[in-house]
């Protein structure tokens, strides 16, 4: 798709200095969408329909239509209802929400407020990972400013809508980015994911209806209200529209967060937007959406765009659009071991396949990495992946198994060369 990316004007992280100050934000049209939604022309149902029509697909990794998710909330019964905003951002290769916290927090706050209005929630909780200590402080300041200006609290702008807004910090667990695990952590308990069903929309925080959305997803909401669903769904790829924050890292000249429409060709992103491969090296592999997504070889990258359908056809997933670029000197065995080490370290330990499986995967990969591996270990690894996928309470086991399965599958020669020659069959 030919698209003049240089002429794109960012809307999620616009190039306006000091946009994190509430006065600068309101001067540039900030909180107008909130005022619009709270006026007499709009009601919660209309908001949900507008967001559904815009097709904001969740930017946290699953890519589920946000408006549709909002419509799963049951009818209000007089009790509290919650919106939980997932700012855990622990997926390796992902660092985009940090930009929003730092440069445009009020866009997110406004989006959360509109969402809370649409789902008639009584409180909003934003869960930011504990490692983002400075950004938690920034969010607290932004919230205080919004409270002072009357955008949060009781009877917001005279509309009769009350909502509270709280910030909580995590404590260093990747698993708490999983939605039910995040709810457990918010409640002050160990971050063990819950068995679903019941789903959070039925029984979430403290047993009440709760919706969980990613920070970036909610940040798109005021833009949709301001410019219309058609405007949003017209940007980027057809089935996965809208602006998105690409987090490009790895062996490129200019790694960073770039806001562009969805559906950008990967080659454009690497060679033009990020300034090309470092030291002029050739591309070897690319992880498109955070370490849980299957790796693509340089061949598979050709002609693939960064949107859900194109990536799925190519054999991977959109995820969080956190692209990790690897050049020809990258040792795939080392890379895979390091990713497995991450999942082993982060497994919560609640259910058997993930707790034991991630540890076993890492230990076998360590054996291969150190040169003691045998060919049958590769078959054992693939077998273990089948034992873990789809058998667990949450998707961490899948996220741990996919890199192993697909990296070995797509870079088989390199792994076999690393293993000792062995004629033993698998035990």
């Amino acid at each position: 798709m030919s698209f003049d990316w240089k002429s794109y004007t960012p809307v999620i992280i616009p190039d306006i200095p000091n946009l994190h100050e509430i006065d600068v934000y309101t001067k540039n049209g900030g909180y107008d969408s909130l005022k619009k939604v709270l006026s007499n022309d709009w009601d919660p149902e209309k908001v949900i329909n507008e967001v559904k029509a815009a097709n904001i697909r969740g930017r946290g990794g699953a890519g589920f239509n946000a408006g549709l998710k909002w419509s799963f909330m049951p009818k209000p019964d007089g009790g509290p209802r919650y919106l939980a905003c997932n700012g855990d951002e622990s997926e390796p290769g992902t660092f985009k929400d940090r930009k929003i916290f730092e440069y445009n927090p009020h866009l997110f706050i406004e989006g959360a407020l509109i969402a809370a209005y649409a789902m008639q929630c009584s409180a909003i909780y934003v869960y930011i990972r504990g490692e983002y200590y400075s950004w938690i402080k920034m969010m607290e300041k932004a919230l205080k400013d919004a409270y002072d200006k009357g955008f949060i609290g009781k009877n917001i702008l005279g509309s009769g809508f009350d909502v509270e807004f709280h910030v909580t910090g995590g404590a260093g667990a990747y698993i708490c980015g999983e939605e039910t695990s995040m709810l457990e952590s918010l409640e002050g308990k160990r971050g063990y994911p819950r068995v679903k069903p019941p789903f959070p929309a039925q029984k979430g925080l403290w047993g009440r209806p709760t919706t969980i959305n990613n920070i970036e997803t909610l940040s798109c909401v005021p833009l949709v209200i301001k410019n219309g669903a058609d405007w949003f769904s017209g940007i980027g790829a057809e089935t996965h529209p809208g602006p998105v924050l690409y987090g490009i890292s790895g062996h490129v000249n200019r790694p960073g967060v770039y806001e562009l429409p969805t559906g950008m060709p990967i080659e454009t992103l690497i060679n033009e937007v990020a300034g090309g491969m470092r030291n002029g090296k050739k591309l070897k592999g690319l992880i498109p959406g955070g370490s849980s997504t299957p790796i693509l070889t340089a061949e598979m990258v050709k002609g693939t765009n960064m949107d859900a359908d194109s990536l799925r056809e190519a054999g991977s997933m959109m995820g969080t659009a956190g692209m990790i670029v690897m050049d020809e000197d990258t040792d795939m065995v080392e890379m895979l071991w390091r990713i497995s080490h991450f999942y082993h370290h982060e497994s919560c330990g609640q259910c058997t396949p993930c707790r034991e499986g991630t540890g076993w995967l890492e230990k076998i990969l360590l054996k291969i990495r150190n040169g003691d591996g045998e060919i049958r270990d590769l078959e054992l690894l693939i077998d273990l992946c089948s034992q873990m996928e789809g058998r667990t309470i949450c998707a961490l086991a899948d996220a741990a198994a996919w890199p192993v399965r697909y990296t070995i599958d797509r870079f088989r020669d390199e792994f076999e060369a690393r293993c000792k020659k062995s004629t033993y069959a698998l035990a």
Binding site: A173, V195, E346, R355, T358
Partner: protein, 578 residues
């Protein structure tokens, strides 16, 4: 009624049971670890997999869609489901490991993953023989191990509390112990620490696991991670005989099992009774096993030369007993029953003495105010208070008791540690001639003039009525010098009796106590006194009581065994003193 198809067979169900409990109730087997019928189901062991599908229903008409063979079209769930958390719906189709290759393989995979970090401790692990992990590995697990890297190491032999030892490596993190302290005993003393495969159960820093029900976690732990510090390494499960009985340390009447080897009771475990204690038992009840083995009185003894008690023969004991009685009038004799003794013992005592001429009978209650909780501990420390009252013994306070003893010439005391409990001093017992029928050597027995050993609950079949008016019975687990397991119809045949060789059945005669049941003693005494009372076995005595005492109407050993105890009418929970 809603229907469900499990492995091709049709079942009907009502209500909202969970699938695993329904499958188990219908006699089929699905392996599991973390599930327990009394606690919440966390579905974290992933062993109870089944394949589930629901029939496709036409949205408008509600009719089931049929395929070309006329069978219902089934939409299978894409992933296999854990049956412990699966709610049953009408028309559901379920395949267990018996009819599905996929399910059998999934269960095998889970077993393999549980075993990779599990230490090879079977030879030294207490749980061997009653270990669900062993049994399910054998039935559903992999044949060998593919694990060729290092296992995770965690603390072993951790003193979690005064009674429980933790071996963290063996733990499979089913969280049954954690959920027990959260949901059942309410003390919240255990939690899981650390993350991933380094996790294990632990108490908060500096805290002990001194929950009064802590040993129940040893029962429910499916592996040998939590073990009883007291029982550790004492005996193998298959060496012991298991006999059902009743707890005698409190009024609740908790159903227990006595485990004996070489005629010594080695441990007590809870027995399931849905009306009394369900699956649980307080820790203090478990320590009662010591009383059955230690400090037993073997052979009667008489006081001579001041305070010395000299062993004597049974003939001499009964002769002395009768002589002392014949020397006084019935009004001078004080007969004390006991709430710590069974219904049959108290009855035989009462019948003999009332035939002889005694008109009123007393007992001293054993109640500690504030001791009980809402669970299995009661203020009443005796197991048979209601039974004794229903027979006609009157509750007597300590002061009245002391006065009665002062004015009596002969005191007959049935199995009650009055001096040890603090009701009497040994001085109070000096004046009259005191005959005690006792099981253990205590301060009380040492203060009496004639001590006749009787059987304890581990050695006889007898009934006890708990604080809620429920009558339950014990079975003999220990042999006395006069009973033999193979000849006594009340005793169950031991495993080694049936399958063992002569070398397995070592017999240590020292462990057999020279004692007799109270009713047999009363028989001999009656004959000597020339009375026409005759008692048969305890079973026959209960039939006699049932036909003569309205409180015990309809009670018999058969009925008590069938129904796991009988709730006596006229003894409501409100009327009970506890």
């Amino acid at each position: 009624m809603p229907e469900i198809f499990i492995d091709g067979k049709r079942y009907e169900f009502e209500g909202k049971p969970k699938l695993l409990q329904f499958i188990l109730d219908n006699g089929k087997e699905v392996p599991f670890f973390c599930y327990h019928p009394e606690m919440s189901a966390p579905a974290n062991c992933r062993q109870c997999y089944v394949k589930v599908g629901t029939p496709v229903q036409n949205r408008e008409t509600g009719e089931y869609e049929l395929d070309e063979n006329g069978e219902r079209v089934i939409r299978w769930f894409p992933k296999m489901q854990t049956s412990c958390s699966m709610e049953m719906t009408d028309g559901m189709v379920v395949h267990t490991q018996e009819t599905s290759e996929e399910v059998a393989r999934a269960q095998k995979d889970t077993m393999e993953l549980i075993l990779i970090n599990h230490p090879l401790d079977c030879p030294i692990c207490d749980q061997a023989g009653e270990c669900p992990l062993q049994i399910q590995t054998y039935k559903y697990g992999p044949e060998g191990s593919r694990f060729e890297v290092k296992k995770v190491h965690k603390p072993k032999r951790v003193e979690l509390g005064p009674r429980v030892t933790l071996d963290a490596e063996r733990c499979i993190n089913c969280t049954r112990c954690v959920r027990f302290t959260e949901e059942i005993s309410g003390t919240h003393q255990l939690t899981i620490s650390s993350r991933g495969d380094k996790n294990y159960p632990i108490t908060a820093p500096g805290m002990e696991f001194d929950d009064p029900y802590s040993l129940n976690t040893v029962d429910i732990c499916p592996v040998g991670a939590l073990t009883s510090t007291d029982f550790r390494f004492k005996a193998r499960v298959w060496e012991m005989n298991q006999t059902p009985s009743i707890d005698i340390t409190g009024g609740k009447g908790t159903n227990v099992d006595l485990w004996t080897r070489d005629n010594l009771v080695l441990r007590l475990t809870p027995r399931y009774n849905e009306n009394v204690n369900t699956h649980w038992m307080p820790d203090e009840a478990r320590m009662a096993y010591r009383k059955f083995n230690e400090n037993r009185i073997s052979r009667p003894s008489i006081k001579a030369d001041g305070d010395n008690q000299i062993k004597t023969s049974w003939n001499n004991a009964i002769e002395t007993f009768a002589e002392k009685l014949e020397a006084v009038k019935p009004a001078d004799v004080l007969v004390l029953g006991s709430a710590h003794a069974s219904v049959e013992e108290n009855y035989s005592l009462m019948k003999l003495f009332s035939t002889w001429g005694v008109s009123d009978f007393h007992f001293s209650p054993d109640v500690k105010e504030g001791f009980g909780d809402d669970f299995l501990l009661t203020d009443d420390q005796a197991p048979n208070t209601n039974g004794v009252k229903a027979l006609g013994f009157s509750e007597t306070s300590a002061e009245d008791l002391k006065a009665a003893i002062k004015s009596a010439k002969v005191v007959v005391l049935l199995n009650d540690e009055l001096v040890d409990r603090g009701v009497l001093d040994s001085e109070d017992l000096k004046k009259p001639f005191v005959i005690s029928l006792a099981t253990n050597e205590t301060e009380t027995s040492k203060s009496t003039d004639l001590v006749i050993p009787i059987t304890c609950i581990a050695e006889h079949a007898a009934s006890y009525v708990n604080v809620e008016g429920r009558i339950q019975r014990s079975l003999p687990a220990k042999e006395t010098k006069y009973t033999h397991r193979k000849l006594d119809l009340e005793m169950s045949e031991g495993r080694l009796d049936r399958y063992g060789t002569n070398f397995d059945n070592w017999v240590n005669e020292d462990n057999k106590v020279d004692c007799t049941p109270t009713w047999e003693l009363m028989n001999n005494l009656g004959k000597r006194l020339g009375l026409s009372v005759q008692f048969g076995t305890s079973r026959e005595i209960m039939d006699e009581i049932a036909s003569s005492n309205s409180s015990f109407e309809g009670v018999s050993y058969e009925k008590m065994d069938d129904e796991n105890g009988i709730q006596l009418t006229g003894m409501n929970k409100e009327e009970v003193s506890a």
